[in-house]
């Protein structure tokens, strides 16, 4: 199950962060997302060490914690997408697919002429679309 997704701008400013848990652990999840930014930086600055292939946007598994797995995605415009999940066996293709759709939703949201670049995204449509994508992620990985 996906517990948290986040979009972080190129100056590491949070643009959109949403957790999908019942419990009151938003702060903990935010902390995990925050920590993952360092890992993203490290991967991007030392592509050889991490064996990243050909500057792909998908960064793969950033780091596992006791309960969560954190995946990352970095666009050409230096916007980072972070996914925190509790699933232990996640297929790479599923995560890639998730990020692709998430990215498309984000692009549609920032293409709104009333959106100010660099500010938090408050679009309700985006929230709806993301929660749909998150729901379907659970289904496709189960099936």
């Amino acid at each position: 199950m996906i517990v948290c997704v986040a979009v972080v701008g190129h100056q590491n400013n949070p643009l959109y962060i949403q957790s999908f848990t019942e419990a009151d652990d938003a702060l903990k999840l935010h902390h995990i997302v925050h920590c993952s930014l360092d890992v993203v930086d490290e991967r991007v600055n030392n592509p050889k060490k991490s064996g990243l292939t050909l500057n792909e946007t998908f960064l793969g598994l950033l780091y596992p914690t006791e309960n969560y797995k954190v995946y990352g995605y970095l666009t050409n415009t230096k916007v980072k997408f972070i996914l925190v999940t509790t699933d232990l066996d996640v297929r790479d293709a599923d995560v890639r697919n998730f990020f692709r759709r998430f990215h498309a939703a984000y692009v549609d949201a920032v293409s709104n002429p009333f959106h100010v670049p660099g500010k938090k995204i408050t679009s309700r449509t985006l929230a709806e679309r993301v929660s749909n994508i998150v729901k379907s992620f659970g289904l496709s990985s189960a099936g």
Binding site: L54, N55, T75, N76, T77, P117
Partner: protein, 228 residues
């Protein structure tokens, strides 16, 4: 995939935007109008680059991003690629488009010509207002890709522009020569050339398409005069 609008809409939107900002909102301060138009372009470019780089691997160096602008971004915007890319390898890039789509249907207005200024530079000046928007788009796209930059447009090299534009300028040049010739002759003998002046006024103000016959008609009396 995406929704499309007709090209003439874009053309008229651009003209209308420039004329609104130049003649209505900031009619006294053209620099401010230019800055506003450029800012609009910046936001558009910022958002477009986000969309057009979606399915691509990340760029490793500046040249790659510039190439992206020249090829993919340019063809998305103007339905063609850049014709020539030059660089001094120190951070300056010159992108040359021989038939810039958004100017290809524009022509200089010969009626606003005044004898003091070179008509070529005059037309270029009038066109430059329309180039702030595309400049802003390019700047927005590049800065979103992590390359803070300044973009300026130059339309001094005339053959680099659209055929229709060239003919329009040619028209201006010819008319100016004609005008000077008439003025010179009028200075010598004011009365004789009043009808010719009137013809020229007509030619200048109602923008009759240039053709050789007209000029011959106008020039004939002068040739006779010069012979005298």
């Amino acid at each position: 995939m995406g929704r499309e609008v007709s090209e003439s809409c874009i053309d008229s939107l651009l003209t209308e935007m420039v004329s609104s900002y130049c003649n209505r909102f900031y009619s006294n301060t053209p620099e401010l109008a230019a800055r506003r138009i450029e800012a609009i372009g910046y936001q558009v470019g910022h958002q477009l680059s986000e969309r057009y780089t979606m399915e691509r691997p990340r760029f490793t160096e500046h040249l790659e991003a510039i190439k992206f602008i020249c090829k993919d971004f340019w063809s998305e915007l103007f339905k063609k690629q850049i014709d020539n890319l030059k660089t001094n390898h120190r951070g300056t890039f010159v992108l040359q488009d021989n038939k810039f789509r958004w100017l290809s249907r524009m022509s200089g207005d010969p009626s606003v010509e005044n004898g003091t200024q070179d008509p070529e530079s005059k037309a270029a000046q009038a066109m430059s207002m329309y180039l702030y928007f595309p400049c802003g788009i390019i700047r927005g796209a590049l800065s979103n890709l992590g390359i803070p930059c300044a973009v300026s447009a130059d339309i001094s090299s005339l053959p680099a522009y659209a055929v229709s534009y060239c003919t329009a300028l040619l028209l201006c040049v010819h008319l100016k020569m004609l005008y000077l010739l008439i003025m010179k002759l009028v200075a010598l003998n004011p009365l004789v050339h009043l009808p010719s002046l009137f013809c020229l006024q007509l030619l200048l103000s109602v923008e009759i398409p240039y053709n050789n016959r007209w000029v011959h008609v106008l020039l004939k009396p002068f040739v006779l005069d010069l012979a005298l």
